[in-house]
């Protein structure tokens, strides 16, 4: 037991020094518990990407070997499993996490043990770690353009907003940013209703009735929903049952994608909106090929693809490029090589890794159709650069993240020209 522990402590350096043998890739997604519904798909897509890369001969002539662990939707277990991946399994890179709380839980581990995490989900921003690459959308790549669309003529010219969310860090931070943003657009505080519900809320009668009466003031009202995965089905069912149509009060969702719609009868939802950086329905050759290989890999022609899957696709291919360019899997070298790498995304534009470890992404607004797919009704003409820190929140408006020399700081104040450091 003691010797095993000693080995565990001693071996990371040895493992990283060894140039031969397979390159190990950690996959840190919940395969059981509440989040399995979303995360197990991402495990599958990583296995597919790794298998495809191996079929092409691996990277640097070495095979890739996935190391799958199950953090079981248990946030402290995420940190334990991350530690295990880096110090026991000696993985060179990790792809994982979904909820912000799981990312916050593993963040100190990746910083302490100097690992690399690719985080594929849209999130609330206000974070910029040297050890994390955020391949999902920052708020300015999803929430802000979505609200802009709702206020535009095509989106119905909304003047009143319901910000409905599940009660945890992502919706709270996003709604804080949105409320500040709406205030700058001249929306009075009385025209914004903020509502939080617990995880897995199933009884929406009162809340939907509240939305209905809030929307009856004569001003066009829209709902911006950061309601998380599971609770959406009863929410949309209640909207349909109470006769709220997308033409009256449209719902713009940030967490509802193809995967969530797969378990739902979407006929009553037609016309409700979602903002993402990828839709399965986007008609490009790259996307068609990706969907075809996904169907082949899962052996199920009905499996849908979604935005976080594309994020892993981009992140994985960027990492492969970085390793091939640097000719090593050494963590510090890879972190420095990653910035500036470009990778064509699946929707016809190009993703660039920015100095703040976020990506450039196109923003798409889609309407739900009765086949459970999205019809793109609006998109940004060019990809939008992700901003880690929100310019609409007073305490962070001067901050930027830049992990290149000479700044090398995740929270650099451009006014005082100082780095706030880890404990800011």
């Amino acid at each position: 037991m003691l010797s095993a522990a000693a080995l565990g402590l001693a071996s990371p350096r040895r493992a990283r020094a060894a140039p031969s043998g397979p390159i190990r890739i950690g996959i840190l997604h919940s395969l059981s518990g509440t989040m399995a519904i979303s995360e197990s798909t991402l495990k599958d897509v990583m296995l597919m990407l790794i298998a495809e890369q191996n079929a092409k001969g691996g990277v640097l002539g070495r095979k890739l070997e996935p190391v799958v662990v199950d953090p079981a939707s248990n946030w402290p277990l995420f940190a334990e499993k991350a530690r295990e991946l880096i110090s026991v399994d000696h993985v060179d890179v990790t792809f994982g996490c979904w909820t912000s709380v799981s990312r916050k839980s593993v963040l100190p581990v990746f910083e302490e043990l100097n690992g690399i995490l690719f985080y594929p989900v849209q999130y609330e921003g206000q974070e910029c770690s040297r050890n994390v690459f955020y391949t999902g959308a920052a708020p300015n790549q999803q929430a802000i353009p979505a609200v802009d669309y709702l206020m535009s003529a095509d989106g119905g010219g909304a003047k009143r907003f319901v910000l409905a969310g599940t009660d945890y860090v992502y919706p709270r931070t996003t709604n804080q940013i949105l409320a500040a943003y709406l205030a700058t657009k001249g929306v009075a505080p009385g025209d914004v209703m903020i509502n939080y519900t617990p995880f897995g809320q199933s009884d929406w009668q009162n809340i939907v009735a509240g939305i209905k009466s809030f929307g009856s003031s004569g001003m066009k009202t829209a709902v911006v929903s950061t309601i998380n995965g599971d609770a959406n089905v009863p929410f949309y069912k209640e909207l349909a049952n109470q006769g709220i149509k997308s033409t009256d009060i449209p719902v713009m969702a940030f967490s509802v994608g193809e995967e969530e719609l797969a378990g739902m009868n979407t006929a009553p939802l037609v016309g409700n909106l979602a903002a993402w950086n990828y839709f399965e329905s986007i008609d490009t050759p790259a996307n068609k090929a990706f969907i075809a290989s996904w169907h082949k890999f899962t052996n199920n022609p009905k499996r849908v693809t979604n935005d976080p899957m594309e994020a892993h696709y981009i992140g994985f291919n960027m990492w492969v490029q970085a390793v091939e360019r640097a000719k090593t899997t050494d963590v510090d070298t890879i972190i420095n090589t990653m910035v500036g790498i470009t990778q064509p995304n699946l929707t016809g534009s190009v993703a660039t890794m920015l100095p703040n470890h976020h990506l450039t992404k196109p923003v798409l607004i889609g309407e739900i159709q009765d086949d459970g797919q999205f019809n793109t009704v609006w998109q940004t003409p060019t990809p939008v650069a992700g901003k880690a820190w929100s310019p609409y929140i007073a305490s962070t408006k001067n901050l930027i993240g830049d992990w290149q020399k000479p700044i090398e700081c995740g929270n650099y104040d451009v006014v005082t020209k100082t780095c706030l450091g880890r404990h800011a």
Partner: protein, 537 residues
């Protein structure tokens, strides 16, 4: 522009100049076609609205096809009017002539659709339905125009009102006309005041929305609007009280269904069954499987698939309950801590087994048409799925009561739980009664699963959402008392729904929980404690 075309058309119609009408209609329909083929949503929406005003034999199929996203434009430019095609199955017809056509599908793109266009489609369909021979359709058409309240509908409405015989439809049409009038910027003050008076009589939230826009500023119109709003608002507030009671009863009935099975296994038998939620979940999955099978093999029975699922879910969960009792719980009687841990472990096993079998994602249980939508009674919105669940939980409660009170099995169950040794010496096979009682409680949990599948996600995690609430209800109502469970569930439901608007969903739950803790402190045996010697021992 729209109104002028209409006026021209009307004039010509009066003169009975058929060829001229055809020409005028042709000219405008080609304009409409250009709008529909446009990439800008604005143009498409305007074109659809004009189509509704124009009418004619081709308008209805075009609007209908657009709604189903079966309307296509050819993407190459230059042709006037641009060719439009309606798809039905694999074949196409020319949208403007109605003749069949064979365009190359690769060159077609669907006419663009978003919420603006969808709103225009609804109002155009309303306009086209105004002349329908069926009074029901005309009434719905009036409501659609009311919802869209577009001033361009006014002339058509005037015509429809003049020709309408049915007094109820005429009222609807007048209300629709009033709403359109408020949207017309050139309407006179007098007209607007009359419109507000008409709408005040109609009442309701949607009316409030339309009058609300006029209530700002000074002048007689704003004043009348404010008066109307105050009147409608008071009315709505009274109804919203009744509505909250309905919401509370419906939440209470779900709690009741989930807790009833537990009232048997925990309340009557004293088994702390942490896997109770999973038995609910398995009932929901049984509903899913039955629905899939019915849809695959007996599609004619699909609307009543949910009814077939009721006995199936009861049998599956009940059978599993008996299996659990025989193989696990009977070894743990009188050891509550071990039972708690063992059933907790069992709940994890059942969850993961379901996940392996059906996958981690939600499965879609559809609601039959007769359980979707809502009926309006005055200002009350009664959603049908909730109403069905209230009725269902009442029936299950009655059936359970009858089983316990009036059947030999019920008599033996009560005998065994009250005095096991006495019952055994009277010749009752107590182990079998234990198994059957546990099976009954589990079967009722399965029935709860059928109901829950209609309002909640069916996923392996479903049970976890209900286990805590179920225990709360049983303990609050009084362990061992079914009436207590009934009153406990309904009062918790109503309390929760009255608190929610003030405190919010999260705080509301916390307040309810604290209230229960305080209550249990005062009365540890709950609302309706079971009394008697059996309890004391």
């Amino acid at each position: 522009m729209r109104r002028r075309i209409l006026a021209v058309r009307l004039l010509l119609a009066c003169l009975v100049l058929a060829p001229a009408i055809a020409r005028a209609a042709d000219a405008s329909i080609s304009d409409v076609a250009a709008g529909l083929a446009s990439p800008a949503y604005d143009d498409v929406a305007t074109a659809v609205e004009r189509l509704g005003v124009l009418g004619g034999p081709r308008a209805a199929p075009i609007v209908e096809a657009l709604r189903h996203r079966d309307l296509f434009a050819r993407s190459e430019a230059g042709q006037v009017p641009p060719p439009l095609f309606i798809r039905s199955g694999q074949s196409y017809t020319d949208a403007l002539t109605g003749q069949s056509a064979t365009p190359d599908p690769a060159t077609l793109r669907p006419v663009r659709m978003n919420n603006r266009v969808r709103g225009a489609v609804a109002s155009a369909e309303g306009m086209l339905q105004l002349a329908s021979p069926d009074p029901g359709s005309r009434s719905l058409a009036a409501d659609a125009i009311f919802a869209a309240h577009d001033a361009s509908a006014l002339p058509a409405l005037d015509r429809a009102i003049a020709g309408e015989q049915d007094p109820r439809v005429r009222t609807r049409l007048r209300q629709a006309r009033a709403s359109c009038l408020l949207a017309e910027p050139t309407a006179t003050t007098q007209d607007k005041l009359a419109a507000i008076a008409t709408l005040k009589q109609r009442g309701g939230l949607d009316t409030l929305a339309q009058v609300g826009g006029l209530a700002v500023g000074e002048g007689p119109v704003a004043k009348a609007a404010r008066n109307a709003i105050a009147a409608i608002d008071l009315n709505l507030r009274l109804w919203s009280f009744a509505q909250s009671i309905f919401y509370g009863l419906s939440l209470g009935s779900v709690l009741l269904l989930a807790a009833m099975g537990l009232a048997i296994t925990f309340g009557v038998m004293g088994v702390i069954n942490m896997a109770h939620g999973e038995l609910v979940m398995i009932g929901a999955y049984a509903t899913y499987v039955v629905q899939q099978q019915v849809a695959a093999h007996l599609p004619a029975l699909a609307p009543v698939g949910i009814l077939i699922a009721i006995p199936a879910a009861f049998a599956v969960s009940g059978g599993l309950g008996i299996l659990i009792e025989r193989s696990l719980i009977r070894f743990l009687y009188g050891r509550p801590l071990e039972t708690l841990l063992a059933t907790w472990g069992l709940s994890l096993i059942l969850q993961q087994a379901t996940r392996s079998l059906f996958g981690p994602t939600n499965v879609g249980v559809s609601s039959p048409a007769w359980m979707s939508g809502a009926i309006l009674i005055g200002g009350l919105t009664i959603t049908l799925n909730r109403l069905a669940i209230i009725v269902f939980s009442g029936l299950v409660m009655a059936a359970l009561m009858a089983t316990l009170r009036a059947t030999p099995l019920g008599l033996r169950m009560r005998a065994v739980t009250q005095n096991r040794r006495m019952a055994a010496s009277m010749g009752i096979r107590t182990p079998w009664i234990d198994a059957l009682t546990f099976g009954l409680g589990s079967g009722v949990a399965g029935l709860a699963g059928v109901a829950v599948s209609q309002i909640d996600n069916v996923s392996p995690n479903l049970g976890q959402a209900y286990i805590i609430d179920s225990f709360m209800v049983v303990v609050f109502g009084g362990v061992g008392n079914l009436w207590g469970t009934l009153v406990g569930a309904l009062s918790l439901g109503v309390l929760n729904k009255f608190l929610e608007p003030f405190a919010g969903a999260v705080l509301g739950k916390i307040v309810v929980l604290i209230a229960i803790i305080a209550f249990i402190q005062r009365r540890p045996r709950g609302l309706f404690p079971v009394r008697g010697r059996a309890v004391e021992t």
